[in-house]
Symmetry: C2
Subunit: 256 residues, 2 copies
């Protein structure tokens, strides 16, 4: 069983060696820039850890794991654009549109999304691709609610913006490991709790979202509860989930 850090290393190695279609030409530079190390790679690491816990082979899950990171990078590149969140910096570096221009950033985001689908289509079964597409559509719908101020139901907006891709990370992990549908329930419930945990801790770090609604103590309690339920879900899975428990702990106490 590999640790989360070892799995993170496998993701970095895979992403660095990833071949994009030659037709992208010089656009590849912007695509690679948006994918460069610096992120925590939480979604792909989660996908690989689930696959390995569920008796799958890490290497079989790598294309799906990388596809998750490409979709995540696509969403960051487009969300950072001036017409959306207007963020000039990302992970301490200029955002893609600052480094390459807005037009190139729009196309680089498009290319990341299409390359993600190409990656996940390397499986013979279309199920992983469909799961990733539906999570992506949920994420886009969540971002639209956010920019249009339709955030009365904050939990729903966050579930779409963040939770859907976390849930897909767990879903793609169990699919890559070949877990039969009737046994996927507890895994998927774990993914839902972990997505909530991640988002609430994000809000605690940034002092917005759930903190504005519930106060710091309330948000902290919500995160603790989600983390507790995530651990409980893992206890119901007949597998060695030690790496996943460690991941829950890591996400619970992170400060950046």
């Amino acid at each position: 069983m590999r640790t989360a850090d070892e799995l993170r290393g496998a993701v970095e190695t895979y992403l660095a060696a990833l071949a994009f279609v030659p037709d992208l030409g010089d656009l590849e530079a912007a695509v690679r820039y948006a994918l460069e190390p610096g992120g925590k790679r939480i979604r792909p690491v989660l996908c690989l850890a689930v696959a390995e816990s569920a008796d799958g082979v890490v290497e079989d899950a790598l294309p799906a794991a990388a596809a998750l990171e490409l979709v995540h990078a696509f969403s960051l590149v487009h969300d950072d654009l001036p017409a959306l969140d207007d963020d000039d910096e990302r992970r301490g570096r200029p955002s893609t549109h600052v480094a390459f221009g807005e037009g190139v950033a729009i196309l680089a985001g498009d290319a990341l999304l299409a390359e993600a689908f190409r990656l996940v289509l390397s499986y013979r079964d279309p199920a992983p691709a469909l799961e990733l597409v539906e999570a992506t559509l949920g994420m886009i719908g969540g971002q639209h609610r956010d920019i249009s101020g339709d955030v009365a139901d904050l939990a729903e907006v966050e579930r779409l913006k963040t939770g859907r891709l976390f849930a897909a990370a767990v879903g793609l992990g169990v699919l890559a490991a070949g877990v039969p549908e009737r046994e996927q329930g507890p895994w998927r419930a774990f993914g839902d709790e972990l997505g909530l945990l991640f988002q609430v801790v994000d809000d605690v770090i940034d002092g917005d979202g759930f903190v504005e609604r519930l106060g710091l103590e309330g948000a902290r309690a919500l995160a603790d509860d989600a983390g507790e339920r995530a651990r409980q879900r893992l206890e119901t899975v007949p597998a060695d989930t030690s790496v996943l428990v460690a991941l829950v702990d890591e996400l619970s106490v992170r400060t950046a």
Copy 2:
């Protein structure tokens, strides 16, 4: 055998009834706006006509045909943005970003692309999805060459920007009809010529692109040659290609 106009009617009906994922919420209005009638629906009609000529069932090809139109609509919405081609009008109406704002238009384009993939994933075989994804990546690469002024090889840029999706329309038609790979060659060669024909006639109408390079007479001759080769390719196919021949004629003489 249905005529091109009858197939166009089938496409309009299918698109009008298309269900998007509920998670899109209010973003669906912008997505539908970008897909509203007014376009010629050439790519989906081509796909259906190929499928029917190749002894397939039109209804089986409809999801693929609609997916092609969604990818086309995605590319128009993003290309019209101020940071790219900066077009305020499309088919005599305000572009999507003028009608809904830039941020919404970026997300609507993203949603069109993801919905296109969802549609084409309704086939059990991942081959149509892979063909559509690779054509989309070529198209994005072509648009990047265009905006970055890397157009020394105009024919290559046009082949990527326009030809790849035309070729995919033919490819998805033969895949939906179940044409075995060894018999797809002449069909695909036809698609390549038709894409070139379409693009050169576009340039003749707009007075740019190939007209700037070859003059009006030269471009007209290039279009005629492509049309002639397209008809010749169809003659080598053991099928009733009368609707496709009519489509070549229609594309040859169009003025808008």
